[in-house]
């Protein structure tokens, strides 16, 4: 069954690539706008052998990783603090609900003025966008703490820190991991977008250059790279999540039996 699914998936992928080759060759769309798969593949190969491409990829990943790390750290710390300090949750709810839907791209002009094309511009957007994902999930997670476990820990005389460490954190971790997974995808989108629109060095900037110099096959090749990068981030985040929560699912399994 699994083998069949893999085969069908591979067939679908092959059909997709063949379609990409056939449609421009048959003249259904202009070849100048939509180069056939083989031309994109050779442009991709040119990119892969170009040192500038790798340094651009490095820049994008640096912005992504630093931004994600800051957002995840801040999101978890703020989320836990807001939940354990009395009344803070109620007091911040309206502010969070108001700030969260603000589109991060609204900050692009501000980032340009403040930092120009530096890495900081990218970081401002990445951190703003991914912070909310982690914070919201952390808040949900902390809310989910079993009151009996909490009371038990209290009556055994565990202090605030010990309760955060042994009761609150294990409960919240699955939610935090979900938040980080969502944030990882959002952070990549924002990192590339910032480079594309602001012109900070990275993959996005290379795409913008390919666009202005009418290098259409390179443009497509870079988009493929961006897609593959997104795929790797998604799959990687899911793997990390599964690893970090292996204990959690096993515990739940035992309870269910």
């Amino acid at each position: 069954m699994r083998g069949l699914n893999t085969a069908l998936g591979a067939a679908g992928l092959a059909a997709f690539l063949a379609l990409g080759e056939a449609v421009p060759r048959l003249g259904l769309v202009k070849e100048a706008y939509f180069p056939p798969t083989s031309r994109i593949a050779s442009a991709l190969w040119d990119e892969l052998t170009d040192g500038a491409f790798w340094s651009a990829l490095g820049d994008t990943l640096t912005g992504w990783a630093i931004g994600l790390a800051i957002a995840a750290g801040a999101g978890v710390v703020v989320g836990v603090l807001v939940s354990i300090v009395p009344y803070l949750r109620e007091a911040t709810a309206s502010t969070i609900e108001f700030l969260r839907p603000i589109p991060s791209v609204a900050l692009i002009p501000l980032a340009v003025l403040l930092y120009g094309t530096q890495l900081k511009s990218v970081l401002l957007l990445v951190v703003y966008a991914s912070f909310w994902q982690v914070l919201i999930q952390t808040l949900y997670g902390v809310q989910d703490v079993d009151p009996v476990a909490e009371e038990t820990a209290r009556s055994y005389g565990l202090g605030t820190w010990a309760r955060v460490r042994h009761v609150l954190w294990p409960t919240a971790l699955p939610y935090v991991m979900t938040g980080v997974r969502l944030a990882a995808a959002v952070a990549l989108i924002l990192a590339i977008t910032a480079e594309l629109v602001i012109g900070a060095p990275g993959l996005g900037q290379r795409i913008a250059i390919a666009q202005t110099s009418q290098a259409v096959p390179d443009l497509y090749a870079l988009i493929v790279v961006a897609g593959l990068l997104g795929l790797i981030v998604n799959v990687g985040a899911r793997t990390v999540e599964r690893r970090a929560l292996a204990w959690h699912q096993s515990v739940r399994g035992e309870v269910a039996v």
Binding site: L4, N5, L8, G9, A10, A11, G12, L13, A15, F16, V29, Y33, F34, Y87, E90, A91, T92, A93, S94, T95, F98, L99, P101, I102, P103, S104, V105, A106, L107, I108, P109, L110, V112, L113, L114, A185, L188, I189, I192, T193, L196, V197, G204, I207, A208, A210, Q211, V216, L219, Y220, L222, I223, A226, G227, L228, L229, G230, L231, V233, N234
Partner: protein
């Protein structure tokens, strides 16, 4: 009464404090990039007049609505087909996983090649970004339709449109709405991005114009408008969701009460 007042206090206290802090900290600020809040609020009515609302905000919202609607229709239609047939799903999955992973803004240059820089380009850009969360969530939702209900529907002879409307889409709708919610925030981002690339009107275009001409307080008002727009749309979405999914929330609340 006292509890109501207390809740009201919690809702407004922190925003008021934050605005007051912003006001006080920026008052008398000479840094050109951080103008005093007073200046920003004073320029607000001058910049966002009724005229500008008509020429810049309405076109943006219209394009967002058109792109979002297109993505909703295409996403739900394709998602229902892909979700209903196991083989189709197996064939499409790797391609969809890849297409979904492409950060939507990088498609703007490609779509500009085909659709120029007019409204069509922006609508297609918005739709191309919004369609993935809707599509994938619809697939998951349709897949997870309760098998007992499917069999029941079959034995009662419910087929075709009635089956689709009353069973498949109905039971997938909580998932579909989760996708629509993600799509909304992506749509707003793409609305702004597409206007920053090439446009002659729209909120994103206006803000970039202000920034390029160093009209900093005006630019700040633009950021506030975008923030307000994002907030209002999310409130609107929640209202719609609560109405449409009323049955679902009711069901969940009742199952939680009687475990």
């Amino acid at each position: 009464m006292r509890r109501l007042l207390l809740r009201l206090f919690f809702v407004v206290a922190l925003p008021l404090v934050l605005v007051a802090v912003w006001w006080a900290a920026s008052d008398g600020s000479t840094n050109p990039f951080w103008p005093p809040l007073r200046t920003i609020l004073k320029t607000f009515p001058d910049v966002w007049t009724g005229d500008r609302l008509r020429t810049d905000v309405l076109p943006s919202i219209w394009r967002l609505a058109a792109g979002y609607a297109l993505a909703t229709v295409v996403g739900i239609a394709l998602g229902t087909v892909i979700g209903s047939y196991r083989r189709v799903r197996a064939v499409c999955e790797p391609v969809l996983e890849f297409l979904r992973a492409v950060p939507p803004p990088v498609l703007v240059p490609v779509i500009m090649l085909f659709a120029g820089i007019g409204d069509t380009m922006k609508i297609v850009v918005i739709a191309s970004g919004c369609v993935w969360p809707v599509l994938l969530n619809t697939v998951e939702g349709v897949r997870a339709v309760d098998s007992v209900m499917l069999e029941t529907a079959r034995s009662y002879g419910i087929t075709g449109v009635a089956r689709l409307r009353n069973l498949v889409l109905r039971s997938a709708s909580p998932q579909i709405f989760a996708g629509l919610r993600q799509a909304l925030s992506i749509g707003i981002i793409l609305m702004v991005i597409s206007e920053m690339f090439a446009a002659s009107d729209g909120i994103g275009f206006t803000i970039v114009q202000f920034q390029r001409s160093f009209a900093i307080p005006d630019m700040w008002t633009g950021i506030l408008v975008l923030g307000l727009l994002g907030f209002l749309l999310s409130v609107l979405f929640q209202l719609v969701e609560r109405r449409v999914l009323a049955w679902y929330h009711g069901l969940r609340a009742s199952t939680r009460r009687s475990p």
